[in-house]
């Protein structure tokens, strides 16, 4: 079931920064949300990269920025060896055939006023994927791929269950034959049993079509199951990344550790162990200085409050951004000033 080894970068983001102007209240001064703060990540060919973190940490922003659905304030984006940071809209629209996205909410991601057929056929038409005559056949084929009956074509989204809708969304992404799909919490809204069905489908597509995924999720269990590597974000920054098993079995960053401990495990014996979770996620409008995580970190020291920790190689394909990591005696690694 494990896909073949990655072959090199397909989609890369370098030092991406994105801020939003927060909705202003009456007369309040402008405030900016740093949704992405110097974020770099790479998805290799045929790789599935997980992106985890708490709500509002910038996962979706990262995914959308990489697809240029949002324009980054700084940084660059490369796709298949081409710098697409400033690609013109026309070119970008062509590229979208190869870069797709699946959304979290299966209820909100389909136009409620279009039948499944219309939804899928429109994409095929707009991108001239196939001759017009073949559109009906192509739609039927797509439905079959995602495991929906042909009769689904004539129905509206409201007539489907969440899982079925998510399949329609996937079929829509597949209609243009993409190389990479950003799955933005594609299974989070689904019940466990349906979640399993969709994961199964995504895995099958990965096998058959050689797809790469950027898989955004807040469920560590799912990421561990589905991804090869994962990146952990906290308040707009990447705090740690590495192969999933190593990352979750032996987290290096205190935040990853906290996440890991808080993630419920369906095992009453294990679950009752006390979890070490403190504090709330601070407002992204006013992130704490230094390491963003320090106010919640049980191990924080003075330097954590002042200096932003650099991203360091921890070996085994792992990277971590924590001051304490050095103090644990791994000196000699790449140092940073």
């Amino acid at each position: 079931m494990t896909p073949p080894a990655p072959r090199g970068p397909l989609l890369e983001g370098f030092n991406l920064t994105k801020t939003f102007e927060a909705r202003r209240r009456m007369g309040a001064p402008r405030a900016r949300v740093h949704a992405l703060d110097d974020v770099s990540l790479t998805v290799a060919y045929r790789e599935t990269l997980g992106l985890v973190g708490e709500s509002g940490c910038g996962k979706s922003t990262a995914g959308r920025t990489l697809l240029r659905l949002l324009e980054p304030d700084a940084g660059s984006i490369w796709f298949d060896g081409e710098d697409i940071t400033h690609a013109v809209p026309r070119h970008m629209r062509a590229l979208r055939k190869r870069l797709q996205i699946i959304f979290q909410d299966p209820y909100a991601s389909l136009d409620p006023r279009m039948t499944v057929y219309e939804t899928l056929a429109e994409v095929l038409r707009v991108h001239n994927v196939c001759p017009r005559r073949e559109i009906p056949a192509r739609v039927a084929e797509l439905l079959d791929t995602v495991g929906l009956p042909p009769s689904a074509a004539g129905r509206y989204p409201h007539a489907f269950s969440g899982g079925q809708r998510q399949r329609i969304g996937i079929a829509r992404s597949l209609s243009v034959a993409p190389d990479l799909i950003v799955a933005d919490e594609a299974v989070s809204a689904l019940d466990v049993s349906i979640q399993a069905q969709i994961l199964e489908l995504l895995a099958r597509l990965r096998e058959k079509r050689g797809l790469s995924y950027l898989f955004i999720s807040h469920d560590l269990g799912v990421v561990r199951y589905f991804c090869q590597r994962a990146v952990v974000m906290y308040l707009g920054r990447i705090v740690e990344s590495g192969p999933v098993a190593a990352l979750f079995d032996a987290p290096l960053h205190p935040y990853t550790r906290m996440l890991r401990q808080a993630s419920p495990v369906p095992d009453p014996v294990q679950a009752r162990a006390t979890v070490q979770v403190t504090g709330e996620v601070p407002s992204p409008l006013a992130p704490p200085p230094g390491c963003h995580f320090h106010p919640r970190c049980p191990l924080a020291t003075a330097i954590c409050r002042q200096e932003r920790p650099a991203m360091r190689d921890a070996g085994g394909g792992r990277l971590v951004a924590c001051h304490l990591y050095r103090e644990e005696g791994k000196e000699g690694q790449a140092s940073f000033s």
Binding site: F103, V126, V139
Partner: protein, 290 residues
């Protein structure tokens, strides 16, 4: 079974039919409204007199068997004038509101979807339009373009446009961040396509409800403009014009102003039935507990 791609009109017709028969309120409204339309269309068959025929010696007659609703100050038959007046009043109301609806919702969607300077510009223009009292706006348009039904319609439409811009803009802003609209961008659809094929169809229920409300207002505004003498050219009967004429004799012949007001009431009633029905029919939460 894949369905043929074409026949957008057929699809729309089917949708309209589904909505039209969604609940009894809408049905009642539509029947009533169609009745008024029928009266307008078949006015010559229904009217008992020539609506323009003056009888200078029978002015301001009270309702009688000869003149069911009495006569006006020129001795014209009020019933016949109301019947014929339905034509113009409906045309004015419908065309003004349709124009305002099309222009307003397009601008609203445009400004809501694109945001940025387009939004600023449309917003400012809307504010400016809103800053003119509709009466003044009407007066200016008619004084500027000269009096004609088209201009009257233009004046009323212009005064109504901002309302539709607002109605269309707010849900567009909300929709813009919805996943399925985002998906359109992700799929490489052009903004125009996204707006016309995906945003607009999803906000039109709200626009439609608004339109039913404003249609009534448009018919009434004609009365106000007629009041300051800027209605439709005489002797063409319109309800607004009749109210204005009636007002001049209101102390002696109250019914002159009341009957055309009642005619407006019927239309307003029909439209509000439709509007209220639509609101319920299109609101999933309200639909659930039906």
């Amino acid at each position: 079974m894949p369905r043929p791609a074409g026949s957008a009109a057929g699809r729309l017709a089917r949708k309209l039919w589904r909505i039209a028969t969604a609940n009894i309120t809408i049905e009642a409204g539509i029947v009533l409204f169609l009745l008024v339309v029928a009266v307008a269309v078949f006015a010559p068959l229904i009217a008992t007199h020539d609506p323009l025929d003056q009888d200078l010696f029978e002015r301001l007659g009270t309702p009688s068997t000869e003149h069911w609703l009495g006569t006006d100050s020129f001795g014209r038959d009020i019933f016949s004038r109301i019947v014929f007046g339905a034509r113009i009043s409906l045309v004015i109301g419908l065309s003004a509101v349709l124009t305002a609806m099309v222009v307003g919702s397009f601008l609203g969607v445009l400004s809501g979807y694109l945001g940025g300077w387009v939004d600023q510009l449309v917003g400012q223009a809307t504010n400016i339009l809103l800053a003119f009292p509709s009466l003044i706006l009407g007066l200016m348009v008619v004084a500027f373009l000269g009096p004609s039904m088209i201009n009257l319609i233009a004046a009323i439409a212009l005064a109504t446009v901002p309302q539709f811009v607002r109605v269309a803009r707010a849900p567009t802003v909300a929709l813009r961040d919805r996943d399925y609209i985002q998906a359109c961008r992700a799929l490489g659809f052009s903004p125009l396509r996204t707006m016309l094929r995906h945003v607009l169809p999803n906000i039109w229920p709200e626009i439609l409800v608004m339109a039913t409300l404003w249609l009534a207002t448009a018919i009434r505004v004609e009365a106000s403009l007629a009041f300051i003498g800027l209605g439709v050219k005489p002797p063409t009967p319109t309800w607004g014009g009749m109210i204005r004429e009636g007002f001049e004799n209101i102390l002696t012949s109250l019914w002159l102003a009341i009957f055309p007001s009642l005619a407006i009431l019927v239309v307003v009633f029909a439209l509000n039935l439709i509007g209220d029905g639509l609101r319920d029919a299109l609101d999933p939460r309200l639909r659930k507990d039906e």
